[in-house]
């Protein structure tokens, strides 16, 4: 219940934070809301030598309307901030659907989307949501800034592309294609509330055929992934029940489906199909 001792720094600026992080040489961890890191530290499953608390860095706060339907979510924006943000939920309605099932009220009041994706828990809902939205991530280090696609950012369970000297400063959500519908369908592991399977779907229809499909699945494999076989099966189809069901059968194509004492790989695979179908149906139903 009591974390191992660590050094603590609370820089006021991003530059200062990046300097400290570079000096920390892999022994330092960045602390934002702490809702993923602090529980691990309390159980002493993580014992970083230094915490760099970025919580007071003004430039990491807030949610920016980037114009034309695009949104920037600062590293310190909590789930609650996102839910309360008109540009975020207005431009990307899946956020208003999916975020209320993440954690609980208290966790959503402190936890951040950026912290979650940087933590890369394979059962987190956030990576699937961001994948379906084609998000990109702004990574800053002392050497400058790079912007990477969220697809490919997570390498494995709790492993990402984030360098030891980098801080994830912003999540950028591009404008969604006009007329898409969005949905998130999941089944939770009851104790933790994490998703055993979660499926995010952003679907567009044009002239009677499916013209846009982004399907992302979490909880199933080591890393949340774009279900591209589902997407390609769906694109160009009529979006009818048969086409959706056929597309959903590809939900775990190419994936190594995980298993634990809560749910077998077989169950996860089956639920990936069920929830892919449900998410597509719900997304289509959400098209105005």
């Amino acid at each position: 219940m009591i974390p191992a001792a660590f050094d603590y720094a609370r820089p006021d600026s991003l530059d200062e934070a990046l300097k400290l992080l570079a000096r920390g040489a892999g022994n330092a961890k960045v602390l934002a809301g702490g809702q993923s890191l602090l529980p691990l530290m309390r159980l002493r499953l993580a014992s970083p030598g230094q915490l760099i608390d970025i919580g007071r860095i003004a430039e990491l706060r807030g949610i920016r309307d980037l114009g034309n339907g695009a949104t920037g979510i600062g590293a310190l924006a909590t789930y609650r901030d996102v839910l309360d943000s008109d540009p975020a939920t207005g431009n990307h309605p899946i956020l208003a659907i999916a975020i209320p099932i993440i954690g609980d009220v208290q966790v959503r009041n402190r936890g951040t989307l950026a912290g979650s994706i940087a933590h890369a828990d394979p059962a987190s809902d956030v990576p699937a949501i961001l994948l379906a939205l084609d998000a990109s991530l702004v990574l800053r280090s002392g050497n400058g800034e790079r912007v990477v696609a969220v697809d490919g950012f997570c390498h494995g369970a709790f492993a990402t592309d984030l360098g030891e000297d980098e801080i994830l400063t912003e999540i950028r959500l591009p404008a969604s294609p006009a007329g898409v519908g969005m949905a998130y369908c999941s089944i939770e592991q009851p104790a933790s509330g994490y998703s055993m399977v979660g499926v995010a779907a952003v679907i567009g229809r044009s002239g009677g055929t499916i013209s846009h499909a982004r399907i992302a699945i979490t909880g199933v494999a080591d890393v949340a992934y774009r279900a591209k076989e589902v997407e390609s099966a769906l694109l160009g189809s009529d979006g009818g029940a048969a086409a959706i069901a056929a597309a959903a059968t590809h939900a775990t194509d190419g994936q190594t489906v995980g298993s634990d004492f809560n749910a077998s790989a077989e169950y996860r695979a089956a639920m990936a199909q069920v929830h892919t179908r449900r998410a597509i149906e719900a997304a289509l139903a959400a098209i105005d």
């Binding site: 219940m1 009591i2 191992a4 001792a5 159980l43 002493r44 089944i187 009851p190 104790a191 933790s192 055993m196 004492f261 809560n262 749910a263 077998s264 077989e266 169950y267 089956a270 639920m271 069920v274």
Partner: protein, 799 residues
């Protein structure tokens, strides 16, 4: 006497401190010079300890003491219920150690303790202790543990068998089953549970070097029993040298009945530190590994009867997992409290049970809310549904045909409760089962359930309904029966109450029982207010401290209102009698002419000649004028031994819906009609039922302690053990019938466990009913979505 206060839903008198954050739980207590203890626990489920090196830990900042098993003068904890006496455990009692010395038997057994100036320093120093382990083979399953070749835990327990206990008429039951036209057999697993009171356990030990006396604060249901056990059986000192104090207890559900290693450790450590207080509070993970678990039975059931639905015999063989060593009353739970109530509320003539208690490399198992009775109820209520299914009879109708009739009470239970060697018997006190079931069926819409099922199918759901027509034995227990029946329970079961009336007019009721959230202070105040005619605000209820309370056996087994409540009633009666005598003296009247109206003691026919109880107390406590033979002061203590147990009953009905694609089970309605006799405070009674129902539903749908084959507790934190949340439950619909218990003057039966005993089977039967279209007749709990989905698909694949 006033009656309006008894039976009224009065707001609880203990609540103001809790709603303002001023409750005083164990961890809220801070003493001058306090030190903090942390315990190093075994990472292995079964291992020999080759060596322990504590030298580095001793050198860590703030560390004042490090203890290992060899430092403890007398290491084994006591065990108080060697089931079956001469027929039960003989020479293979292996109890938890204060700290393990040679070997560990489960993951989480304590092997060393660090005491430091701060809690953080104590935890830090644990990491510096080096233990050399020799891992040994592991067995976690009770049935497998008894098989040839299984890893052996204790040399004195071949095949890991603790005891083989039987109850009932074997020959008669065998014959009944042999000749029955219908016999249904089923293997049933009642999975292991982690009780999860929201407050974990903890202790503060304080040694007084000046007097050689110890004080221990403990989050406990049984401070008096702990004083007895710690003094006579662990510390080897006289009972009067220990004072046990149980502050506000944040839930317990059985887990805080027992004598734990940490209690003794805090006392030893405080003495070693020449009287510095030593506090230990477990973490939730420690709670999951080292505080008791519950249930964990594997049962082979046979139920026999006629095609017309007359049940003629039940035969049960149960493997009861007791963990790596024996907890304080562990062996008593799957024997007396399980085997003897297997017949439920049915007039089954032949019942026979064999119970094999087993050691495994798991956390010790003992009483968890219901303790044996939920396991028995689960077996018999599943059995009734299995039998009904076999003969094609409606499950409610089968129950109706086999209920003990209302004119048969007191009823002698054939599964053994009436078989004491010296003629002492326990009867089912009173009952009237059909009205409760009829009310529940009507409320639940049982008659039109087929329509509800069809409607659910149209939404992609399978709907099921399940009944549990439970009874339980509460209000334990007549001491003479406990002593006579050969159960080996090394204790009595009476309760105590003391009433004093202060000179300034306040009534103080002091009890040997110990609340954990049940609202004793309110309930007892209502009893005393009713008995003495004094307003509740003039009554103070005290408990929880062995200094100043009469010895009592504590609160568990739904016994407090029946046994403790009766002690309080009797103590009030003695106060009234003395008050009448003294009123006669004050009023210069014959005692036969004094009538008692509420708190007024009047001369019959001259209502203006009267004294209130508080006026009488004032004069009596002063003692200026006493009649011959009368002592001053109101101070009456009663030790009450109950003449019998009490038997609440009722019918619970669950309605569930199962998602055809995911297997997810939703509890959509829950109806409970309970008969707990008379109610002292219906609001509190309903609250007890709500909480019990939620725990029982939790077992059916979500909860389960899971070990891997290496004995690692996979469900080792709240992230993996599903303690139910608010949104998982519907609004529980409660109803009641009232059949007063003749056992006690209050007519109460007890309610602390009823909900937990009834609800698991109701939900299980509902889930199986929902799965009946798949040809599924039984499935073991918990009904998690993956498990139910698997069962549906297995059946689909086969058909």
């Amino acid at each position: 006497m006033t009656t309006d206060v008894l039976g009224a839903s009065i707001k609880r008198v203990e609540d103001p401190r809790f709603i303002t954050g001023k409750g005083r739980f164990l961890d809220d207590i801070k003493l001058a010079g306090m030190t903090y203890m942390s315990i190093l626990r075994s990472p292995y489920a079964h291992a020999n300890i080759r060596s322990i090196d504590t030298s580095a830990a001793k050198a860590m900042p703030g560390v004042v003491l490090v203890l290992v098993g060899a430092d403890i003068p007398y290491n084994p904890l006591p065990m108080a219920w060697p089931a079956g006496g001469s027929a039960g455990i003989q020479n293979n009692v292996n109890t938890p150690r204060v700290l393990a010395t040679d070997s560990v038997k489960w993951t989480g057994e304590g092997v060393a303790a660090v005491i430091a100036e701060t809690a953080a320093q104590a935890v830090d120093a644990l990491e510096a202790i080096v233990v050399e382990w020799e891992p040994l083979p592991v067995v976690v399953d009770a049935e497998k543990a008894t098989l040839p070749g299984a890893p052996q835990l204790h040399e004195n327990a071949p095949n890991n068998v603790v005891f083989e206990w039987t109850v009932g008429d074997k020959a008669g039951t065998d014959a009944a089953i042999d000749k029955a036209p219908v016999v249904v057999r089923q293997r049933i697993v009642n999975q292991r549970l982690i009780p999860n009171p929201m407050e974990v356990r903890g202790d503060i030990g304080l040694f007084n070097p000046g007097t050689d006396e110890y004080t221990i604060w403990m989050s406990s249901q049984t401070p008096h029993i702990q004083r007895l056990l710690l003094s006579a059986f662990v510390m080897g000192i006289p009972e009067h040298k220990i004072r046990c104090i149980s502050p506000d207890v944040g839930g317990a559900f059985g887990t805080k009945i027992f004598c734990y290693a940490d209690m003794a450790l805090c006392l030893f450590a405080s003495k070693a530190l020449d009287g510095r207080p030593v506090k230990w509070v477990e973490t939730r993970r420690e709670n999951y590994q080292s505080t008791i678990h519950g249930r964990d039975h594997i049962t082979y059931l046979e139920i026999a009867g006629t095609r017309e639905g007359e049940i003629t015999g039940v035969r049960v063989k149960t493997f009861a997992n007791l963990g790596g060593r024996l907890s304080t009353i562990g062996p008593g739970i799957p024997t007396t409290l399980y085997g003897r109530v297997l017949a439920g509320c049915y007039k089954i003539p032949n019942v026979y049970a064999e119970v094999t208690g087993v050691y495994t490399n798991t956390t010790v198992v003992d009483a968890y809310r219901g303790a044996g009775r939920p396991e028995a109820t689960y077996v018999i209520e599943r059995a009734m549904d299995l039998f009904a299914d076999e003969i094609g009879l409606d499950p409610a109708e089968l129950r109706r045909r086999n209920f003990i009739a209302p004119d048969k009470f007191p009823y002698e239970n054939p599964s053994g409760l009436g078989t004491a060697s010296n003629g002492e018997k326990i009867y089912i006190d009173s009952g009237n089962y059909e009205p409760a079931m009829d009310m529940a069926l009507a409320t639940a819409g049982y008659a039109s359930i087929d329509k509800a099922k069809a409607d659910a199918r149209s939404r992609g759901k399978y709907l099921g309904i399940g009944l549990s027509t439970y009874i339980e034995v509460c209000g334990v227990a007549p001491s003479k029966w406990i002593g006579a029946v050969g159960e080996g329970w090394a204790a009595a079961m009476w309760e105590s109450a003391n009433i004093k009336i202060h000179l300034t007019g306040k009534v103080v009721l002091t009890m040997g029982t110990q609340p954990q959230g049940q609202g004793h202070e309110t309930t007892y105040s209502q009893i005393i207010s009713s008995e003495l005619g004094i307003p509740m605000e003039d009554i103070v209820v005290q408990h929880s401290d062995t200094l100043g309370t009469p010895f009592g056996y504590g609160s568990y087994g739904s016994r407090t209102s029946s046994v403790g409540g009766t002690a309080a009633v009797k103590a009030a009666g003695r106060i009234r009698e003395k008050a009448r005598l003294y009123a006669a003296h004050m009023l210069e009247a014959s005692v036969d002419d004094i009538e008692v109206v509420g708190a007024e003691y009047r001369v019959k026919g001259s209502p203006e000649k009267k004294k209130t109880l508080q006026e009488i107390a004032f004069a009596l406590d002063l003692g200026f004028s006493l009649p011959a033979g009368m002592d001053p002061y109101f101070d009456e203590t009663v030790y009450h031994d109950t003449p019998n147990c009490t038997w609440p009953f009722g019918t619970h009905i669950a309605i569930v819906e199962i998602d055809e694609e995911t297997g997810k089970v939703d509890l959509v309605r829950y109806v409970a009609v309970d008969d707990v006799g008379k109610k002292i405070n219906p609001m509190i009674v309903d609250g007890q039922l709500h909480g019990g129902i939620a725990q029982g539903v939790g077992q059916a749908l979500w909860e389960g302690a899971v070990y891997d084959d290496d004995g690692q507790l996979l469900s080792g934190s709240m992230l993996d053990y599903a303690v139910p949340r608010a949104s998982w439950f519907p609004h529980f619909e409660l109803g009641e019938t009232v059949t007063p218990s003749p056992v006690n003057p209050l007519g109460v039966k007890g309610v602390g466990e009823a909900g937990a005993i009834a609800s698991t089977a109701a939900v299980a039967n509902a889930v199986i009913d929902a799965l009946s279209p798949f040809g599924i007749r039984h499935l073991d709990m918990p009904y998690t979505a993956p498990k139910v989905w698997r069962a549906m698909h297995d059946k689909e694949a086969r058909s």
